[in-house]
Symmetry: C2
Subunit: 153 residues, 2 copies
Amino acid sequence: MPKQDYFKNLLKANGLKVTNQRIAILEVLEDRPGEHLTAEEIYGLVKEKYPEIGLATVYRTIQMLSELEVIDKLNLDDGFVRYEIGNRGKEGSHHHHHLICLNCHSVFTFEDDLLEVLEERIQNSLGFRVVDHEVKLYGYCKNCSEHDYEESR
Amino acid sequence: MPKQDYFKNLLKANGLKVTNQRIAILEVLEDRPGEHLTAEEIYGLVKEKYPEIGLATVYRTIQMLSELEVIDKLNLDDGFVRYEIGNRGKEGSHHHHHLICLNCHSVFTFEDDLLEVLEERIQNSLGFRVVDHEVKLYGYCKNCSEHDYEESR
DNA sequence: GTATGTGCAAAGAATTTGCACCCGA
DNA sequence: TCGGGTGCAAATTCTTTGCACATAC
């Protein structure tokens, strides 16, 4: 398990301790790449393997994971902050964009480096140096566009 | 005041009443284009002209304004939902993008239609029809890039 | 052994809601 | 008149925090 070793080293490098709770939370997130989990959802899933865990530990750990850039924060404007495992260190660490269906509320991801052109323009015209971005595109997914989108209103 | 008439007609067209509170809230937002106000900030500003207003009315009104697409919702991940007056009905109703400085936390806006190319690609490759988007670019503004960015950490 | 981490419960903070009264159409 | 709108306070909901105990190193 290379990712876990990476994580353990990352913890040690930052003077943090490797605990069962932290490993359990990481495992839950690792098992669900591409999913966008809320703290409560992560809590529920971790409880299956580690029933004694507290919700506060989950909050504290995901905050730490986010600061260490192991996971990405995501806000779908439904009142929950969501998290997904990142792919730092792997091949092209392209940030993906999120496509959110306004009808069925499913979330798709889309990789594209068009943003780099935009970021260069901004650098040149405004002197603003972009280091990260979040792109959310709202619309109707293929399925909902084809069938009417009247169902889940 | 053309925008206010538009708003009054919009209310009537939706079977909603024109109240002093609603007008006062709209005026506050109209007076501050380009600003990103929280509910609490709007509340404070409206109170100057209309001291009896309640916070709940502000929440109810901005929610309504958002649904009527008179204002845009914006989340800068600081724990507050923010709102700004939109420019529907006016010339090119280009959505602008937000540039967020990670050092001084100022927010700049940037207009660009590069996203339309991206949206077309998505339409063609995934069949996902995009109707709206939100783009946030994080980085360091010109001023903070030039001087070190150590101040407001 | 000691500083860091954890679980619990309580506190906080943003937003929503119930309800009696008010007011625009 | 009368149904929608408002103000207030209470309720909800997500998240953070204080503290005593537990545990990694």
